[in-house]
């Protein structure tokens, strides 16, 4: 075919969106495992993990890949949303009553909430590490993420924002997991029901897993 060497088709956009999404889902797992070390009782385990992650050269490369993953995922998601909002200029009078995958209708909205959280998250941690944001007095150094996290988790307003973000992340993931497999053509009557169940479990584990940490610090620490 002579075309589409420069212009991506709708399916190519979706494939890239799905691949970047799956990569980010993998990242969420490693991030959750690291964060759960905050519950170890003291800062030693978490500090050791931070020290490893910030010194390992492979992780430093992966960090750039991760940023690329976020940017590509967001960019593709926005392109899909713009195209889709143009496809029906005159809306229906009666709201569509078809049975659908509920959260699929709000991916751009849940995505926007997650993005807002991501920006706040970067300001609170990553920008301090880069020196773009001043180091707070309670932190020993720019890698003292334990103290930074504990202080934030004692602020009820931040905890509410955090919990709300992770509820919406759960909604996003509930649709995203199985949708990524469908987009990559991996829908089959033998295993797709299992993928849907795994997707729901994954969304629950991620949002509950991340949420228990601030709840623990706010009420039990």
């Amino acid at each position: 075919m002579k075309q589409s060497n420069f212009k991506l088709s709708s399916l190519s956009h979706k494939t890239i969106l799905a691949l970047a999404g799956l990569f980010l889902m993998l990242f969420l797992c490693t991030h959750l495992l690291t964060n759960l070390l905050l519950l170890a009782g003291d800062s030693r385990a978490f500090d050791a993990a931070v020290a490893f992650l910030s010194s390992n050269p492979i992780i430093k490369v992966v960090e750039y890949v991760l940023f690329a993953g976020f940017i590509i995922h967001i960019l593709m998601g926005v392109i899909v949303w713009i195209n889709n909002s143009r496809a029906r200029p005159v809306k229906y009078y009666v709201a569509q009553g078809s049975e659908t995958s509920f959260f699929s209708k709000f991916m751009i909205h849940t995505g926007l909430i997650i993005f807002t959280f991501l920006v706040i998250h970067l300001i609170n941690f990553f920008f301090i590490k880069l020196g773009w944001v001043a180091l707070p007095d309670y932190a020993k150094d720019t890698h003292d993420f334990y103290s930074m996290a504990v202080v934030l988790f004692k602020e009820p307003l931040y905890v509410i924002l955090y919990l709300v973000s992770f509820v919406f992340l759960g909604f996003h993931l509930k649709h995203a997991f199985q949708s990524a497999f469908q987009t990559l053509g991996l829908n089959h009557d033998k295993y797709f029901p299992a993928i849907k169940v795994i997707g729901t479990i994954y969304a629950l584990v991620i949002s509950i897993g991340f949420s228990i940490i601030p709840i623990y610090f706010l009420f039990f620490h």
Binding site: S10, L11, K14, N83, R88, V94, S98, T100
Partner: protein
């Protein structure tokens, strides 16, 4: 039964449309939805008014010509039913029924409830065929085809091209239609030969015509009058990916 109707009226593609309300008395529950519209049109004509334009042909659910958006669902409230197969017994006495045309940038309104679905023909012309001079019908057993595969190809081939998938989709995406057509050919030996080129051409045409992107909402499967599965969309995605990754330049 008596019913109230709220029907989209639009003179042509360039004029602005609006809803008009009608009250219809003594509607038989045994009437099909289209017969009810015929009954309304008879009264409109007798009253010297312009009848409602709507499309229909076979009136037995196989031609794909009828297609109305009824109370928020393409082809109305019953699953696996075309508008012509829908009967008035599916509605309550005194109910208000809202009838709209398919809404999509790719399906411009011709008049009232009739939309131009030639975008589907353009997609078919882009690759929805097999380039083989078949001559007279060949001996059926010359090419062995697994029964399960032929059944599966048939499950895709039952698509009547009505456009309900586009009408149901929040993105007005034509993925289910294109997927059904791509799959019905790709599954069979005669169609496999050109499968890689076909899927790329049909997807390219689909994008060009202004249909939205698929966001795996699955409303299309739910509202397809023939119950075509979104598994075929995954099949098309597979065909497309392998064509993009594996086909040689110029194919």
């Amino acid at each position: 039964m008596d019913i109230k109707l709220k029907i989209w009226r639009q003179k042509n593609a360039s004029t602005k449309g609006r809803f008009e309300d009608y009250e219809l008395r003594d509607v038989s529950p045994e009437m099909s939805f289209l017969e009810m519209l015929d009954y309304l049109n008879k009264q409109l004509i007798e009253g010297g008014k312009e009848p409602v334009t709507f499309e229909h042909d076979c009136r037995e659910g196989i031609c794909g010509t009828c297609g109305l958006y009824i109370n928020g669902r393409p082809h109305g409230p019953q699953q696996h039913t075309t508008t012509c197969e829908l009967h008035m017994r599916a509605f309550k006495d005194g109910e208000t029924i809202v009838v709209e045309p398919w809404r999509s940038k790719a399906f411009p309104i011709i008049k009232d409830l009739a939309v131009d679905r030639s975008a589907f023909d353009k997609i078919m012309n882009a690759g929805g065929f097999v380039n083989i001079d078949t001559g007279s019908a060949p001996e059926a057993n010359n090419i062995p085809i697994n029964k399960k595969i032929s059944d599966r190809a048939f499950d895709a081939a039952v698509c009547i091209g009505c456009g309900a998938c586009v009408a149901a989709c929040k993105n007005s995406s034509a993925m289910l239609f294109v997927a059904a057509k791509v799959s019905q050919f790709a599954l069979l030996p005669q169609g496999k030969v050109e499968a890689a080129e076909r899927v790329q051409r049909m997807v390219e045409k689909m994008d060009e015509l202004g249909f939205g992107f698929c966001s795996n909402t699955y409303a299309c499967e739910f509202d397809c009058p023939k119950g075509i599965s979104v598994e075929f969309i995954a099949q098309m995605n597979r065909e497309f990916l392998s064509a993009k990754l594996c086909a040689h330049k110029g194919h």
